[in-house]
Assembly symmetry: C2
Amino acid sequence: MKHLPDTIRAVDWQHDCLHLLDQRQLPLRQEILKLQTVQEVTKAIQDMVVRGAPAIGITAAYGVVLAARSAYVQRPTDWMAHIETDLHTLSKARPTAVNLTYAINRMRALFPQITGNPVPELLAEARLIHEEDIQANYRMGELGANLLPNPCRVLTHCNAGALATGGYGTALGVIRTAFAHGKLQQVYADETRPWLQGARLTAWELKEEGIPCVLIADSAAAMLMRNGLIDWIIVGADRITANGDVANKIGTYSLAVLARYHHVKMMVVAPTTTFDSTLASGNSIIIEERSPHEVTQLHGHPIAPMGIKAWNPAFDITPAELIDVIVTEKGYVEHPNSTNLASLLQ
Amino acid sequence: MKHLPDTIRAVDWQHDCLHLLDQRQLPLRQEILKLQTVQEVTKAIQDMVVRGAPAIGITAAYGVVLAARSAYVQRPTDWMAHIETDLHTLSKARPTAVNLTYAINRMRALFPQITGNPVPELLAEARLIHEEDIQANYRMGELGANLLPNPCRVLTHCNAGALATGGYGTALGVIRTAFAHGKLQQVYADETRPWLQGARLTAWELKEEGIPCVLIADSAAAMLMRNGLIDWIIVGADRITANGDVANKIGTYSLAVLARYHHVKMMVVAPTTTFDSTLASGNSIIIEERSPHEVTQLHGHPIAPMGIKAWNPAFDITPAELIDVIVTEKGYVEHPNSTNLASLLQ
């Protein structure tokens, strides 16, 4: 099976610090930032050095290691109390992805049993979270690819690839596996305004691996569907509620409506760490609104008149009834609802 | 009634040459190009110095004047035969808008009755085409605005404004009139990738006149509709076939499907010069595919990996059944079809 070599992993722990591939610079530059403190990690998540719900979770786990390391040096006996403020700030770095909270809580659950230097145990746990994510992606890749016809033409939105996860990817994991199985005829990648994750990241990942990819403006997707050129839409998720509503990159909901109208199938691929069973439906999900400058400027250059207002929601909610299948590492559910998702997740 | 002052008209004949506001430079710079030859006019249309179906038609009419002027100097007795090659090239500058052909044919129809220097008569006709377009826009503005509720929240796509026409605008003409009537609460403007007509041109026109405008990424429109924030979508057209199918900027079809799903109304505003009764349906319209670089680069900077393929259709087709009303200067038709459109146009 083909996958990205470790050297271009987005998140990595090396030489006692956290290495992040700066995704703001892709595809023009492959620049690695080396982070030594949890404050740097929080800022990197806020500034989208790293993005994608699973990758944010993994990054936060390593952030907890850095927080504990620093606190332990300063206050060896009460480092746990000392880092709570940092962890709270880290957990609020971005509001929509639940993986962030999941990873911090899982790391925090270890604290009571730790004696002495917390770094070895916490680092082992962060590495485990990372490795589990990659393994989940391989598993989802197989499950999702088996659902696709042969040959298959797919459309993906944003980047749910190696760069958005521990490695391999969720939606792109399915696409990678389908390609490895020889059934993938064509991938269309939405450029995904305003941050251009599709143009900058997904197109880059697919091109690196020789998977046939055509880039389109987001608004051209409907015409592809009308022309009968898309069999499945495959996307990731930032949070999935108990009833199967999906928060994902702005534009996902639009695609889901268009897919239903054109009888195109809609697949959401996400590890169980993305599920938030505490929320009954997508109506309760906080949608992050990012700076209007992401819409009105590009690379610092204005592309709209000075002072114009812009509305820049980072995510939207796709209701469960528009989703044909949700694929997780524990299996998949068709026509997701509270009952079949609860069975899957228990 | 408010309208843009003449000084920022996109197309203008002054001091014996054609002045075009270079729309590629907006909103950063207001640069006027002064064209002396039909070859320059053809290139300006191809390169999108001027764009928008009615503006292209008017520009072409002035282009015929320049062609005739040059030919008459060189060959006073057979200038008509001499300019046919130029007019053919001009008519092919862009394939989708029918106004281009309409304007050239209307100018050419005068040739047989011209004796001596053709410039005065041709210039008068070009000015008439220009003035008729502006008057049509005022009329459509009134007709369309009367169809809107009070208060009204609208979404527009691309730029169908003063810049796309002789002045005042088609879709933006309706929006201007509704604003003048005090019933316009909010305009949302799709940025309109890849060329960003919405961000660069529509946002600029609306801001210049103090009409409340919020810019969004194209893919955020569905969420606005889901949130109940849009009453009408109002767009222009590049060509309308006998049955009411509409070719317009890529993304229009997507909006029309989303509008129907969310019970939002869809209005197309276009002068009768935009109608092509020779085509039975939108299936026969040639859709211009422009350079992939419009998707993969911005201001010459790459925004996607080198060598990635991109599909860049400039327009899409919205079938008549998704359009609630087509407004022309001769009146409007609801639920457009071959019969009611033929009655309107006769």
